[in-house]
């Protein structure tokens, strides 16, 4: 019996490896063997026929390997074709509902998610004059004067927050010095106009999107809690989401009725925020400073980890905070640690996890990336 160590093989030269020591398990990982078994003998037939004659003592292992594969195959419960099609039909429907993509190729700069969330919109403090070009007005004053719907205006002249109740049951906490104009929501959209800062707690109504015109930006939600900050004269606006999801787009791209005429928008999930700079017309998304746990994701008890894999811990955090956490070191996934994290803020939790395994984390936009780390510390 010869051992061939050739780097190539043709149908005439049989061995690349030392088949003399092959057991059934080894055959099952051999690509040629798998091709043979999976194709029920149609592929690689000549190869294995020759093999059987050259290595007759391997016939037993070969048979065991093949039978094991076929048994496992037999035990696989496969779906019916109609189940597969049915689920796909549901997927297409869900995707269509959540996606407002046009057929244009998207710029990778913008992200797309389903809209419906709590947004915190805040205007920045950059002061400069901005000339609006053709398109919808981007100033509160102009916007409310141009609309045909009758509006009520509430101006908070006091030093404290004022709570405004809207017709649909939603509430807005208006900060001192801010203005809010709203209607009876008789039409198909619920549109309000904001100048300043407000925290919105919106009642869910998928049939009537809630739209906030906040100077340079427009925020669209279905039902959620969010903070909007946008002052007339400022070129920076800010939206932060507490719960739910929103879609944010530039006001001068809208047609004045809440629909954006170009597909340049940002979708925010909870614990995310975006700053829009009207000078550069750019959106910059990031995480809020203090991410909070999402509703309905359990209590702090779940964060007392004993001998749990890092991968599992990160996944629990991802679900609880709705934040994407990625680790570059895949070996960490199965590394087990004990970490009583309780109700510490998210970033403190990550600090502790990273300290335990000697890793570091960094926030890139809305994603947290963990690098480095060693299991054996």
């Amino acid at each position: 019996m010869y051992i061939y160590n050739a780097k190539y093989d043709t149908l005439n030269t049989l061995t690349l490896k030392d088949y003399r020591n092959y057991k059934a398990e080894d055959f099952l990982h051999d690509e040629r063997f798998r091709a043979w078994v999976i194709s029920k003998g149609k592929q690689e037939t000549a190869y294995w026929e020759k093999f059987k004659t050259d290595f007759p003592d391997k016939a037993g292992e070969l048979t065991l390997a093949k039978s094991l594969y076929l048994s496992l195959d037999h035990l696989q419960v496969l779906p019916e074709k109609k189940a597969k099609d049915r689920v796909w039909a549901q997927l297409e429907r869900s995707i269509l509902e959540s996606s407002l993509e046009t057929s244009n190729s998207r710029s990778p700069f913008y992200r797309w998610w389903m809209a419906a969330a709590a947004i915190l919109i805040m205007a920045g403090v950059a002061w400069s004059l901005r000339s609006t070009f053709s398109g919808a007005p981007v100033e509160y004053g102009k916007q409310i004067s141009q609309t045909e719907i009758p509006l009520h205006e509430k101006i908070n002249t006091s030093k404290k927050e004022q709570i405004i109740s809207l017709k649909d049951g939603s509430t807005v906490r208006l900060k001192s010095g801010s203005k809010l104009s709203y209607s009876d929501f008789a039409l198909k959209d619920r549109i309000v106009y904001l100048d300043g800062e407000g925290y919105f707690d919106i009642v869910k109504d998928p049939t009537k999107p809630f739209i906030v015109y906040a100077g340079h930006i427009v925020v669209q939600v279905v039902g959620t809690r969010f903070h909007v900050h946008s002052n007339t004269g400022n070129t920076k606006s800010n939206v932060a989401v507490t719960s739910g999801k929103v879609k944010v787009f530039a006001a001068d791209k809208s047609d004045g009725l809440g629909k954006d005429t170009e597909s340049l928008a940002v979708y925010l999930s909870p614990n995310q925020q975006v700053v829009f700079d009207a000078n550069t017309n750019k959106f910059k998304t990031s995480l809020v400073e203090k991410p909070v746990q999402l509703e309905g994701t359990g209590d702090a008890k779940q964060f007392y980890f004993t001998n749990t894999s890092v991968g599992g811990i990160l996944h629990t955090l991802e679900t609880a905070y709705g934040v994407s956490i990625r680790s570059e070191n895949t070996k960490l996934e199965s590394c087990k640690i004990t970490a009583p994290l309780g109700d510490l803020p998210l970033f403190r939790k990550l600090d502790i996890i990273c300290q335990t395994i000697g890793a570091t984390y960094e926030v890139f936009g809305t994603e947290i990336v963990i690098s480095g780390g060693d299991c054996n510390l």
């Binding site: 099952l28 003998g41 016939a59 037993g60 065991l64 094991l68 048994s71 037999h74 035990l75 689920v87």
Partner: protein
Amino acid sequence: MIRNTTNDAEIWDAFRLGDKTAYGKIYELYFDALYAYGKKFLLDSAQVEDAIQDLFINLWRSKARLSAVDNIKYYLFRSLRRDIHRISEKDKTLEKIDFDSFLVNQDHPADESATSDSDLLQRLTSILENLPKRKLEAITLRYFENFSIEEIAVIMDVSEKTVRNTLHNSMILLRKNSKLLYTLILLTLVFLWF
């Protein structure tokens, strides 16, 4: 099966950028395997379908924040496993597979009274069926789905050592139980199989 990693990476990247055809391709390629795998834990086929549906919906919704992947099946299996585990933990009324019983080192005695018409295939199938679920899962992931030991350890959330031990013990068991028929069936199978 020769796993084409560059192919996987390409399809995944296209999907991440919003290519619905690539997304559909991923669904097409892996639905069956995911279904068969999920069925090992959730006995109700509707629940398995729901789990896979949720998995794919979340995939689409979060595609912009996903990292690159060079083994899609591994990613999908990992995700489905985690999702199903969470579903099972939450829903106490679900018929649960015991996730914790694992390295059961029971001695499965060889059935001396082998029926004359039982062939190797039937025998192996019945042994496999009666193994603890976690053992069968490990064997399936290794020898049927051809995942590596490291990958299986992550999917099943156990150590590599545990995976190796389990597979080693299982193969001993399978070998022991099929030895009786070896000499009888050997030549027949080799000639008649294909």
